[in-house]
Symmetry: C2
Subunit: 343 residues, 2 copies
Amino acid sequence: MPTRPPSMGYPATLSEVARLAGVSLPTASKAMNGRGDVAAATRKRVLDAAEQIGFTPNQLARSLLVGRSGTVGLLTSDLEGRFVLPILMGAEDAFGAGQVNVFLCDARGDHIREQHHLKALLNRRVDGIIVVGRQTDPRPSLGHDLPVPVVYAYAPSDDPDDLSLTPDNEAGSRLAVEHLIACGRSRIAHITGDPSYAAAQDRVRGVQQALAAAGLELHGEAMFSEWSERWGRDAAAVLLDRHPEVDAIACGSDQIARGVLDTLRDLGRLVPDDVAVVGYDNWEVLTTNARPELTSIDANLQQLGREAALALFRAMDSSQPEPKGVQYKPVRLVIRGSTIAHR
Amino acid sequence: MPTRPPSMGYPATLSEVARLAGVSLPTASKAMNGRGDVAAATRKRVLDAAEQIGFTPNQLARSLLVGRSGTVGLLTSDLEGRFVLPILMGAEDAFGAGQVNVFLCDARGDHIREQHHLKALLNRRVDGIIVVGRQTDPRPSLGHDLPVPVVYAYAPSDDPDDLSLTPDNEAGSRLAVEHLIACGRSRIAHITGDPSYAAAQDRVRGVQQALAAAGLELHGEAMFSEWSERWGRDAAAVLLDRHPEVDAIACGSDQIARGVLDTLRDLGRLVPDDVAVVGYDNWEVLTTNARPELTSIDANLQQLGREAALALFRAMDSSQPEPKGVQYKPVRLVIRGSTIAHR
DNA sequence: CTGTTAGCGCTTTCAC
DNA sequence: GTGAAAGCGCTAACAG
């Protein structure tokens, strides 16, 4: 006797499909999944039957049986941060192609909430987890007693036994300054954001390296404060007052660069003729609408998300020892009118 | 004989907990879930045993049995759009509080991909779906032959039998213009974005309504083009050339408003003394860093996401007929220095 | 090629 | 109070 009549309302089950097609349940299963050897005619009957009653295979049952859910967790510390979203997109994209679905969890910077979400993800038997932080400062590891692999993106784990993918900030500002030098600038200053951010420190280091390699020195001290347009405006005013000879300014963010451009304009300094300006982050809304358009450093965050997904895939499939440690991913320079004039 | 020895490596099962606690499987289940009548001492033994072997209840099995997964799908048409994220945050937040986890799917504006994701979500037996669009233009319905309730957020469904939540754009620009009038302005112009967007048309209508209610007329035609700073700059230049008497400009977006501010500055017009400016969207990065800070309209998107989640909750729980149709959600005016001078 | 038998991990009647 | 039995919907061996 059928457990349940093949009525509408409930999603159809595979046994209903089997009955309708006049085959046994396992045969229907094989036919649906293209498994085993099933006569072509039989397969067609099954597929037609499934189509007819609108059969939707229950992944929950399948997952329970095969011991993998085909899902991963994306644990973010802060969805608001504008660096998280592109990473999310890249990861979701890469997973989607592999039939994997993504649970999104936002811990909003709270450790308790993070633990809570982690537990929920494990209860749901995710096959892996990507942890996305909002800054490049190292963050606490989730630990190693987890039953699934974990990859850290943007914010690296503070445990060297974890795998972390983060943009190479040092290389980024090195690129920026090398570009300025290549454009013939030699009196270069640096205005950046909050000194408590690893990103600020790393970028200053990159600037210093590029200058040193060219036998140059920074004009004035590196100027730290907040990651805002306002600070960019104020800092540029002070800088040009005290170092009017400056012919290029490397900025720690596009926001700061936008402020710098504003002040230069107010002071009647032409960009890029008198002073070249380079930003950081390549935030298109800001860079492509600036006057002139802003040269900037792009961290390829979407690519970073994709790579994190692929690394997790590998760790999930092979359960071989994953590579460990922090991988610094290459960034790229996007040249626009703030460093090279159009003609 | 136990199916599997209680060894490490595999996640512990409830039957292992039961064995360790010296009770039967059902009793362990009841103890864990606080169900039925279980002796306090027994419950403690079970909980201790669970703790000891690090038991993690398998939600997959539970879901299969009880017929609800405790998950929902968040189907976005485009993660990139900056209106989607706050809605996502609000929804994730509201669901998280209810022990519900969220599958994130980005269709990237592609119908095929959307159908693909929809199917995946149904296979995973989500209990409901929120569809988040990136524009306020109506979008095709997912249909009504779905086994789970659906709520549309931001982009309403084109089917009046669906429930949609979208910001009230008309009311928004009405608020903006009423504010300008209250500030003593009477020669008001309107610069907005792409006329193919419903948002542009709705906002123009709101502007007209507020002007008409005060017995005023728009100065010049409403100016349409793209949602960019650049257009804001160019449009403002033209506008002030042809209508130098204008004393206020209502803009269709904050980006446009930023461009307008730039041009006003270039022309030596004081804001807000000579010309007041109001933006739209309250995109903080743009509004709080403008000179002066930009008055704008906030669509309360996070709240919108939260409400969509709550509406979906209701529809999921009660399976009573959900309310139908498009609900226009209130927006709010955020006053800053571009309309009222500090003293 | 197809059907029978088992069982994934858990909850839920229902006797004891 | 507690345990035995019966599945949720599906797949992975095996026999036939």
